[in-house]
């Protein structure tokens, strides 16, 4: 039994660097939170049939997590409810003390990946309304993602067009484990609509496309799934590059979220080497893959890489470019990165500002 275990919130705001947090996970305060935006048909459908995704369990993940809800245990709101469901607690525990002046919401459990395509679309649309009603309209630091039913690309494009130009939406959100690799032409209407709207497309780790989550079948353990996001994100990103999405949509920006980033340099080197040898196969690519990556792709920083010695990660960031990384905490998840501790390395003030804020503001087109 815990008795009086919570430390007092640190009073740090005014002296701390103002930062951008490019991966915050708001959660519904109750299972019915989307009801105001769901028709009677879908409310009844959900009661009877639920919202199965392409996995065995009605609720919960295919690989049980290491902590309940994959959340920090100290992120449970004092008033009750799940971690991430209380705006006031998020403000008190995270936004205020960490001086987050720009926070991007990536709602998971939003209906994305739900197998029934119409239900999926309805839930995604409701999620977008909910983000405005419960979050962005109440705290102007928070910005929303257009959550889309990505397996239905045309419906996704329509949802993007609906929100394009709305001041609260800064990106489109898809999940990384899609039914087919993300560069496949069936997803191109999403990129078209996003590029036209000037919205980056964020690819966030997770989702269930329906196939095994590795190229060699299903692993046994949660730790393998977590390590494996690096592989599935590489596969999706390689597809986007090699299929020519950036040639077709030169204004498109992609943000890889919660995928890790240290894999990026060797990934780029391999793509370049392979493309060079096999160039005749991809005449639609006018430039080496690494150039597309340098112009169109950014990575969020969480989970932060922790080599020993820590300075090795500076080599990695040097290879990627200090303009490629967008700081993120993944609040309220367990593998949260505290901004004051995420990069305990000797870097220049310019590098620090880029990493913690300026890159994000540039990518999302926000004036400081």
């Amino acid at each position: 039994m815990n008795v009086n275990v919570k430390p007092e919130a640190a009073k740090r705001t005014s002296t701390r660097l103002a930062i951008a947090d490019c991966d915050i996970h708001p959660v519904r305060s109750s299972p019915n939170a989307f009801d105001p935006w769901l028709s009677a048909r879908w409310r009844d459908h959900l009661k009877t049939f639920g919202s199965p995704r392409r996995l065995a369990m009605q609720a919960g993940p295919a690989f049980p997590k290491g902590q309940p809800d994959a959340a920090r245990r100290d992120a449970l709101p004092p008033e009750g409810g799940r971690a991430g469901s209380s705006l006031s607690f998020m403000q008190a525990q995270h936004l205020d003390p960490n001086n987050v002046t720009f926070g991007v919401l990536n709602p998971l459990q939003s209906g994305q990946g739900v197998a029934n395509p119409e239900l999926c679309a309805a839930l995604c649309a409701a999620t977008n309304e909910w983000q405005v009603a419960e979050w962005t309209s109440k705290d102007s630091r928070l910005k929303a993602s257009v959550v889309v039913p990505y397996e239905s690309a045309d419906v996704s494009a329509a949802e993007i067009r609906k929100w394009a130009g709305h001041k609260d939406f800064v990106q489109v959100l898809v999940l990384s484990r899609t039914g087919e690799p993300l560069g496949n032409r069936r997803y191109w209407p999403i990129y078209q609509a996003a590029a036209e709207a000037g919205l980056p497309v964020a690819v966030h780790a997770f989702g269930y496309g329906g196939g095994p989550i590795t190229s060699t079948g299903w692993p046994s353990h949660y730790i393998e799934e977590m390590a494996g996001h690096a592989q599935s994100c590489q596969a999706g990103l390689a597809s986007i590059v090699i299929e020519g999405v950036f040639e077709r949509f030169p204004k498109l920006k992609i943000v890889m979220v919660e995928a890790g980033f240290a894999w990026a340099p060797a990934f780029a080197w391999r793509l370049d080497k392979t493309w060079k040898a096999l160039r005749a196969e991809t005449p639609h690519l006018k430039r080496p893959p690494s150039e597309y990556l340098k112009e169109h792709v950014w990575w969020t920083t969480q989970p932060m890489e922790e080599p020993e010695p820590r300075t090795h990660v500076l080599d990695t960031i040097g290879w990627m470019g200090w303009d490629r990384l967008l700081f993120a905490t993944d609040y309220p998840h367990w593998d949260f990165d505290d901004p004051s501790l995420a990069l305990p390395l000797p870097i220049s003030e310019e590098q620090r500002l880029s990493f913690f804020r300026e890159n994000a503001l540039a990518v999302y087109g926000v004036k400081a």
Binding site: E180, G217, W218, H221, I242, P265, T274, A280, E305, D335
Partner: protein, 354 residues
């Protein structure tokens, strides 16, 4: 400068045709090949005429690249002054869904390698090709071929039916450890699952690039499932993986192990430590950074000079001319990579290496 006497850990003798394997099959299977009109088992991992499948100057006017011993001698063993080369035959016996047919073909490939290559050229060693759907039959084949001291390794593919760490496969590792055979995991898939974590790619370029992720997945699986805890003497070699992805992968896996140790409590050392003692990677291809100084940094990130093993990947087209050692490879490591590390890895070489 290439060291004379190097050990080349990855060369690919090419089966000229199914016809060449038929003499090594039982009467029953010989009949099946003929009666059913079986096709060649050539994997899409290496499209026949693609530039990676064979370097242009290693393509003969007639016949297959690396199709004869004469080709391998003049194009590979002699010019690179190789003392020993390990043959990894990529004929697609593993592609089949029938475990019986797969086993029959794998046996034929192994007998063909032994007779046509190992017996005729003292510099050659071989890997035992097995299908992996039926592990009992795979172990039988390993036991059978292990009697021939010229076989030094069991050959598996980077993507198969299940992640290779799963206990289902452990009898293979037990047999390999028992006989002092390494386990070689080679780029390619049996395509029993889509070849990427997110489905089937449209282009060969994607498929080939995706091999690096397959190796990452297998390394995670072997470590997390505890293969090296249960078989501490086992050496696993990742062949044709590109290798520069290794440090970043281990940073991530080690970080998660710290927080999720309780899920896999049999893993009692950091993944980085396990790789240092049990896992090796072949040199070609090297997915190299554009500047040579950065290659040295990546090697520094690996925190061990015992991990890389020399290979040409002959006849695959990975480098020009004699430029098999990537630019930026520290000279102090050349002898280790070309001779010492392979000797330390392949226990069965000790019997025959001079």
């Amino acid at each position: 400068m290439i060291e004379a006497g190097a050990i080349d850990c990855d060369v690919h003798p090419t089966v000229p045709s199914l016809e060449a394997l038929v003499p090594y099959m039982s009467e029953h299977w010989q009949d099946m090949v003929k009666t059913r009109g079986l096709d060649e088992l050539v994997s899409i991992s290496y499209p026949a005429n693609s530039p990676i499948t064979a370097r242009a100057d290693w393509r003969p006017a007639k016949g297959k690249p690396a199709g004869t011993l004469e080709q391998m001698r003049t194009e590979c063993l002699d010019p690179f002054k190789t003392s020993i080369a390990i043959c990894n035959c990529l004929y697609g016996a593993q592609l089949l869904f029938s475990e019986d047919m797969g086993s029959a073909f794998a046996s034929a490939v192994n007998d063909w390698i032994a007779k046509e290559w190992l017996d005729r050229e003292p510099r050659l060693r071989g890997s035992i090709v097995v299908q992996t759907q039926n592990v009992e039959m795979a172990v039988e084949e390993i036991e059978r071929c292990a009697k021939n001291p010229r076989f030094v390794q069991v050959l598996l593919l980077a993507s198969g039916d299940h992640p290779l760490g799963k206990r289902f496969y452990w009898p293979i590792y037990a047999a390999a450890e028992r006989h002092g055979l390494t386990v070689g995991i080679h780029a390619g898939s049996n395509y029993h699952n889509p070849p990427t974590a997110v489905g089937w790619p449209s282009y060969y370029t994607e498929d080939y690039a995706a091999q690096a992720q397959a190796f990452q997945t297998q390394l995670t699986s072997l470590i997390c499932e505890g293969v090296f805890s249960s078989y501490p003497k086992l050496k696993v070699v990742l062949l044709e993986s590109g290798w520069t992805w290794l440090p970043a992968h281990l940073w991530r896996l080690s970080k998660y192990w710290h927080g999720l140790r309780m899920e896999i409590p049999w893993v009692d050392r950091s993944p980085m430590e396990i790789v240092k003692t049990n896992v090796r990677l072949s040199l070609q291809p090297t997915d190299a950074p554009p500047d040579p100084a950065s290659l040295e940094k990546i090697i520094e990130h690996m925190q061990s000079d015992e991990i890389l093993l020399f290979s040409t990947d002959y006849p695959h087209g990975q480098f020009e001319g004699m430029e098999v050692l990537p630019q930026g490879l520290p000279k102090s490591l050349v002898r280790k990579i070309m001779i010492d590390n392979p000797r330390a890895t392949y226990a069965r070489l000790l019997e025959t290496v001079t």
